[in-house]
Amino acid sequence: MKAVVYVTLKKGISDPQGNAVKEALDSLGYREVNKVRIGKIIELELEDMDKEEAEIKIKEMCEKLLANTVMEKYSFEILEG
């Protein structure tokens, strides 16, 4: 089974990378972009297991390793199949 984890900076934490991309889009003429935030997407390929079990495990992995909850928040989706 597969899962996708999204890790993004918490609100209020500055995102220099996002700001730089926003400026770059601006100077390319995309004035309609007001804000850019950049995060990570982590695709996991897992042994098949119970969905609930998977949820618990992935949450653990996020808390322990995939995100630093001091400044990042995470969410995930489990794609069966």
Binding site: P16, Q17, A20, V21, A24, S27, L28, I38
Partner: protein, 234 residues
């Protein structure tokens, strides 16, 4: 003979290139600000190392849209010389003057150290004073110097003799162990088909004074100078 060292916001090695050309080699060299459009007076354009625009998103991705880059592309298409070192190499691939891409080092770490590289092609204006197969020691300092190109692209590079430098052992062997960053086929530097645009990850400007430990890098700058003075190959 006039050199132009481009300064992007975030360029760091602009001053290092400038110092070699002006203090060590006594050549005429200017800093050229990234929004300059007219660069006709320069024979050689150097895109220096550093972290243009913070290297945010991808190294060189934002710098390639600087005003000056259109002129650099034109300059290159006229057959004039362009050399991109480190971040400059990354910018050249992003803007499409050179094929392939530079991705994260395979050990995921920034690497700063002096490594041996082998001259694979000594028929470019940048290497004409080198012997083919000559090993020179040049510092690298990058986090994303892992050269990637697909198989088809690689075949083209090989066919057209576009691989200029490869990482090697002290004896000149090309092997896994002497590949610092995971680059395809140990590639450290390539040129375009015409041979007038060079991109390389190692920093020759850091190896141009004995006081700093090594002057192996001077051979590149001297090749360029000889080439320009003669106006052609011997």
């Amino acid at each position: 003979m006039k050199f132009g060292v481009v300064v992007f916001p975030g360029s760091n090695c602009d001053i290092d290139c400038y110092k070699v050309l002006s203090n060590v080699l006594k050549k005429d060299v200017d800093y050229v600000w990234h929004d300059t459009e007219n660069i006709e007076k320069y024979d050689v354009i150097i895109l220096p190392g550093g972290f243009s625009y913070g290297d945010y998103l991808r190294c060189g991705a934002i710098a390639r849209f600087s005003k000056i880059m259109d002129s650099v592309v034109k300059h290159a298409n006229k057959g004039k010389l362009v050399i991109g070192i480190c971040n400059g190499f990354q910018i050249l691939t992003e803007v499409g003057l050179l094929p392939g891409a530079l991705i994260r080092n395979n050990n995921l770490k920034f690497i700063c150290k002096t490594v041996p590289i082998r001259v694979e092609n000594n028929t470019t204006p940048f290497t004409l004073n080198c012997e083919k197969g000559q090993v020179i020691n040049i510092p690298i300092a990058h986090g994303e110097g892992n050269y990637f190109i697909d198989e088809e692209g690689l075949a083209q590079l090989e066919k057209n003799n576009q691989i200029v430098f490869r990482y090697c052992s002290e004896e000149g062997l090309i092997d896994e162990k002497s590949n610092p960053n995971g680059s395809v086929k140990n590639i450290a530097g390539i040129c375009n088909k015409a041979g007038n645009v060079l991109g390389m990850m190692p920093h020759p400007e850091r190896a141009s004074e004995l006081l700093l430990g090594n002057e192996d890098g001077l051979i590149l700058f001297k090749s360029i100078i000889d080439y320009l003075e003669r106006g052609h190959f011997e």
